[in-house]
């Protein structure tokens, strides 16, 4: 039985700066079901991090402003929450781990103090019980050495710090864990350890994971479903096998072709021409059109909606329209 846990619909987060409006997240739809691992993929500046920070209520406002849409997590609307209400959600229903575990841990407090603080924020436990729980949670992420609770972040390696972050994020058993490039700063052999750990926690605790990454290898190994973003919008969405075997959006196709594969060696890599558009001057029509080799006239004038093309696959591209009748458009996901 599939029940949606996180439902982001038609969500817009704009930044109002002196130099103009940056549409960082523009009409994004994204669903994470209970217990599911969803990958959110895209290049820098595509809005994947702003999307996830919005779910945590961590986008500074101003300059950020919600321009429309909703974010529902476990049947609660999040876009209207105030500071105090957020604190009940963060760390309790939804937790987040970041790319750089050194900067997300406080250097002047011990590991134990930091985890205990997180526990006591949400659970009515005395210090002793909270410390026991902290030790248990570290054990769960594979740190069992004595005295770890008294150590400071700088005494740990990058991989160990990320384990501590995961322990802290998981200690209150959130329903959703947002992982923003959790292994990008780590070495390959350490990355394998952390991915293995996250897979195990997902299986054992049923916590759903929203995995934000630019590494398609990590996506293929970890995720059930994938959402691809480009220039602030979702351009394609599908289950992991479909996305890798039959990508339908030209951007996804280009992205998959441009990665060197370990197993095979192409003489020449495919490369998508051009650069990501400037967020202050988005092209009219389809945002990918200036770099797209299939671009048609309509692509340069009208913005395509996210078309449902069967089997839960959605793609924001005009190429699908002649094959599908207009009536086939999913009314909930189409921008008119």
């Amino acid at each position: 039985m599939v029940r949606p846990l996180l439902e982001i619909s038609r969500f817009k987060m704009y930044f109002h700066t002196d130099k103009g409006v940056v549409k960082a997240v523009d009409d994004v739809d994204l669903t994470v079901n209970e217990g599911e691992v969803v990958g959110l993929v895209g290049e820098s500046g595509c809005g994947k991090s702003v999307t996830s920070l919005s779910v945590m209520g961590l986008v500074p406002r101003p300059p950020g402003r919600v321009e429309g849409g909703s974010i529902r997590l476990a049947d609660r609307e999040l876009t209207h929450l105030k500071g105090r209400e957020w604190r009940k959600i963060r760390g309790n229903v939804v937790s987040m781990i970041f790319q750089e575990p050194m900067t997300s841990l406080n250097p002047v407090f011990t590991i134990g103090d930091q985890i205990v603080e997180a526990i006591r924020q949400h659970r009515k436990l005395d210090k002793k019980a909270a410390r026991r729980l902290a030790a248990d949670s570290l054990q769960e992420v594979g740190i069992s050495r004595k005295g770890i609770l008294e150590e400071y972040p700088h005494q740990l390696s990058g991989g160990m710090r990320q384990r501590v972050m995961i322990a802290m994020a998981m200690v209150c058993r959130p329903k959703l864990l947002i992982a923003d490039e959790p292994t990008t700063a780590l070495d390959v052999t350490i990355q394998a350890q952390i991915l293995d750990l996250m897979r195990r926690l997902n299986r054992e605790t049923g916590t759903a994971i929203l995995m934000i990454t630019h590494d398609l290898g990590v996506v293929a190994e970890m995720c059930d479903r994938v959402v691809v973003m480009y220039a602030g919008q979702v351009v394609e969405e599908a289950d992991v096998n479909t996305l890798f075997n039959q990508p339908r959006h030209p951007y996804t196709q280009g992205l998959l072709q441009s990665i060197p594969r370990l197993g095979q060696r192409a003489e020449r890599l495919y490369s998508i021409p051009g650069n990501v558009p400037n967020p202050k001057q988005m092209p009219t029509g389809c945002r990918f059109a200036p770099r797209c080799e299939y671009a048609m006239n309509i692509c340069r004038t009208e913005e395509p909606g996210l078309f449902a093309i069967g089997d839960g696959q959605n793609s924001r591209c005009w190429l699908h329209v002649d094959k599908k009748e207009e009536a086939d458009r999913d009314p909930t996901t189409t921008t008119s």
């Binding site: 190994e221 060197p260 594969r261």
Partner: protein, 327 residues
């Protein structure tokens, strides 16, 4: 196949950094960043060096160009001993070998225009007059896929990929024979990464370049290299042809490293056996005795804890340093 004369030979290269402490800055120990590394690069080939952070791959690249003074060992370029060269001679020698850096944001002077940055090596080495240099600079911009109107712009006006192109143009300006590229694409997005890799391959063909390509991304290194060396804790543990390394890795570390790379295919045809190493890389200031990898090696034997394995040829130029391979 004839063996072309090596362009660069590195023998027993060592680079130790002192750790100073106490009131008088006494030497307390040393970090063995590069600990006895030997390899050579043939003319026109690309040698990739991979390894995790702190394995000494960048220091190796810098020590070859003497951006870091090697502690000991020999570096020969076209038969000439580099470590013996004095300041001015070495400076002239650098015309032959240039470097491309990882961070396209930090490696370009923000107060100079792209044109000035690219023309600077020509000026430093006294090549041509001002007019000629300007012509060459414009040609270089075109060679790396930029336009001549870009010459007047400052680094912050470019994207990461474009900046890396400027860095490559600067390296090419003096027509070097060898380019040491230290993580040239790791700061770039996937779609931009492939553009820069393709550019580097085109330039290699066009200008007959030899690359020392340093990176942590095994897929990228496999794509661009002819031969690949794997480093761990300051030591070279394996070195062979690209395909042989990826298809038949001999060293347990290489095996683990290759198996740990996430593959962008949810249903790989061959389910790979994944080796997940336990523990972390030891500190290079206290490297383990014997084989540096023995603390994490799944096949560790008694001898590994005491005796450092020799880095030697196990047939057809397949070098590895592991006691398991000894008869």
């Amino acid at each position: 196949m004839t063996q072309p004369q090596p362009l660069l030979e590195v023998e027993h290269l060592k680079k130790f950094f002192p750790i100073r402490g106490g009131v008088f800055g006494k030497k307390m120990g040393e970090v063995k960043a590069v600990d006895d590394v030997t390899f050579s690069i043939r003319k026109g080939e690309t040698l990739g060096i991979v390894g995790e952070s702190g394995c000494g791959k960048s220091t190796t690249g810098r020590a070859i160009l003497r951006l870091e003074e090697p502690t000991s060992g020999k570096v020969r370029f076209e038969g000439r001993e580099l470590t013996a060269l004095k300041g001015e001679e070495m400076r002239k020698m650098r015309r032959e070998m240039q470097m491309v850096f990882q961070d396209p944001f930090a490696s370009l002077n923000p107060r100079k225009t792209a044109g000035e940055i690219i023309a600077e090596p020509l000026k430093v080495h006294g090549i041509g007059d001002a007019r000629k240099r300007k012509e060459q600079m414009k040609e270089l911009l075109q060679v790396v896929g930029l336009d001549s109107f870009h010459a007047g712009r400052y680094p912050h006006q470019f994207s990461g990929g474009q900046r890396q192109r400027i860095g490559i143009a600067r390296a090419l300006a003096v027509r070097p024979k060898l380019i040491v590229a230290d993580e040239p694409v790791s700061a770039l997005d996937v779609s931009i990464q492939s553009q820069v890799l393709n550019l580097m391959e085109d330039l290699q063909e066009r200008f007959d370049l030899t690359y020392l390509f340093i990176a942590h991304d095994l897929s990228v290194v496999r794509h661009i290299s002819d031969r690949v060396g794997v480093m761990y804790l300051g030591r070279m543990v394996e070195l062979t042809d690209r395909d042989r390394l990826y298809e038949n890795p001999l060293h347990p570390y290489t095996q683990a490293l290759l198996s740990a790379v996430p593959v962008p295919d949810p249903e790989p045809e061959v389910r790979r056996e994944r080796i997940i190493l336990s523990g972390d890389v030891p500190s290079p200031s206290h490297p383990p005795k014997g084989c540096a990898f023995h603390t994490r090696c799944p096949h560790v034997m008694d001898i590994c804890r005491d005796v450092r394995p020799e880095f030697k040829d196990h047939g057809d130029g397949h070098f590895a340093a592991c006691h398991l391979l000894d008869p």
